[in-house]
Symmetry: C2
Subunit: 206 residues, 2 copies
């Protein structure tokens, strides 16, 4: 057990500047408890996965992304839901991070998933698909149930996207993120202890 | 009913040059029955979905993609499966094509899904997620069941990607694609008749 802060990599699954889900990560930064730091990580520079490119070598942006995941104690992913599933933007980043299959940056990395959407089912299906993917990548999911972020009913699909984030969304996000964060904080601390023990078991002297 | 050929837009969900799924589309071209043309459509130039970009206007590659879908009688999508779900590359293209939600290029467009993968479950989960997305986009799915392409057991994950396509894969793909194509051909023809009737019903003089 160390005194250094728990470092969480916060990844919004949308590229939109004023996206709800980037707002969720910022809200998590606002409400992070003492000893927890949340870094906002944007996916704009990650290219499309292409096995031919991977054969030559990971592009710089992918190298940086994998390093950022490895250096974090855990991930906090805020996913939108497009067409009842994970946005391609987010899934593509996970496809890169999952490679190579054994010992990938996602292997064993504690990860919490939440999300916000004006849609009728929120982001439940996208979260569910992410959790299925993370079973495949041996990524521990936290918390085990879907966090129940309130849906913002008064937001309408046909309002311009830049009008969609406002103090209300930010406040709801804070409430939701605070709940996740408080729950995840203890879980991550416990997980890190287990992880540290594992490192010791594999021979690293204390 | 017209005499023009049925035009199918064949979309592989992988960017890899020698991908199985590009091979599937080529196989579908090889075995397309009389009166059916399959055009190979690659996703390399489609950018990441970003609501801010969409607000300014669809990028040229997205305009071309939507036009190609609208001009086709149906889609034939060959999907890989990454981490138990749809590849980000393919999902991203669908996210663009699904916009705007009402009257999108995918609305009412007959679409067949198949895929090939060396993985233990093949592409069943990715296909299933695609079908769920296509329920949301009002895209008729054809055929209603998952086509059972044989899994190529002798292909190993750790073989270099460029070694993965060979005559054997091509032959299996042809067998599978032929089955889908034959089944889809009649279905598409029937669907086009229904579609043409619909156009007449909405007032276009014959």
């Amino acid at each position: 057990v160390t005194d250094r802060p728990i470092r969480i990599l916060g990844i919004p699954g949308s590229l939109r500047q004023h996206s709800y889900n980037r707002g969720l990560i910022r809200a998590a930064q606002d409400v992070a408890p003492e000893g927890v730091e949340v870094e906002l990580y944007l996916l704009h520079d990650i290219p499309f996965f292409n096995g031919d490119v991977e054969d030559i070598g990971d592009p710089d942006a992918v190298v940086r992304f994998k390093e950022a995941i490895r250096e974090a104690d855990g991930l906090l992913i805020a996913t939108p839901q497009y067409n009842r599933s994970i946005p391609g933007v987010l899934k593509n980043a996970i496809d890169w991070a999952s490679r190579p299959p054994r010992g990938s940056a996602l292997d064993g990395k504690p990860t919490a998933v939440f999300g916000a959407s004006p849609g009728a089912t929120g982001t439940a299906r996208a979260q569910s698909q992410l959790r299925q993917a993370f079973v495949f990548t041996s990524t521990p999911r936290c918390p085990p149930r879907n966090p129940g972020l309130p849906r913002r009913r008064e937001v309408r699909r046909n309002r311009p996207p830049h009008a969609r984030e406002d103090a209300g969304v930010r406040r709801e996000a804070s409430d939701g993120a605070g709940g996740v964060d408080a729950e995840a904080g203890g879980w991550l601390a416990a997980n890190r202890e287990r992880h540290d023990s594992g490192v010791e078991r594999r021979g690293a002297a204390p």
